[in-house]
Amino acid sequence: MSVSLQPEAINVAAEYAELIGDEPGAAVATFTGYVRGHAEGQALTALELEHYPEMAQKVLLSLGKTAVERFKLSRWRIVHRFGSLSVMDSIVWVGAVAEHRGEAIAACEFMMDTLKTDAPFWKREQVGAGEQWVARRDIDIYRRKRWQGEAQ
């Protein structure tokens, strides 16, 4: 039931243990995102993640609360990194505990799809000798919209 914004690596095993606690719910789903080694066909050497700390905290907390209402979660957690990252570093981790697998899996997908477009983080890629800000992709907007206007 919490959010962590952190520069350090995500300890996935510790996060998972903390999420399930002493009594794992019937259904536990998690998602871990890693830094891809390529961007539009070019090798990526590093990634810088800028964020707006106060707003990111609020948006992600609100997102978790919405996921609880929508998917009847008993527990959830969102961890997002900022700062300098290397290829194959973990960048984001979400976890959801529910009564059934459908809700737990959907909650992770909902949290990921929503945070991609709504949480104030910006990626800057180092590709070869150059650097570029990552542009929002249409697929991310599409995936976010799928969750709007659906039956609760």
Binding site: L49, E50, M55, M112, P120, F121, W122, K123, R136
Partner: protein
């Protein structure tokens, strides 16, 4: 009657500033409170680089950490942020 302006990512880089104070009375009166559009217009007067950055397509406006449209009313002590579409996750 100050508000805080924050700029992030490509906007921060293009304008060379991440945070500045803005005197709200420049664009508002008791009879006509300022909205985000008015603050933006005043900031755009700082130069072509500001104008270009603040009127780029898909610019996001956040008032006190919430995404808003440009008709949102701005009050003393508010924090108004401008940034490009978010690309986290």
């Amino acid at each position: 009657m100050n508000i805080t302006i924050k700029l992030f990512a490509a906007l921060r880089e293009a304008l060379g500033e991440s945070e500045l104070k803005f005197e709200l009375s420049e664009v508002s009166s008791d009879a006509a409170p300022a909205d985000v559009a008015a603050v933006k217009a005043a900031l755009a007067n700082r130069g072509a680089d500001w104008r270009e950055a603040l009127y780029q397509p898909n610019l996001v406006h956040a008032l006190n950490h919430k995404v808003v449209f440009t008709d949102a009313v701005v009050s003393e002590g508010d924090e108004l942020a401008f940034f490009p579409p978010m690309t986290g996750g």
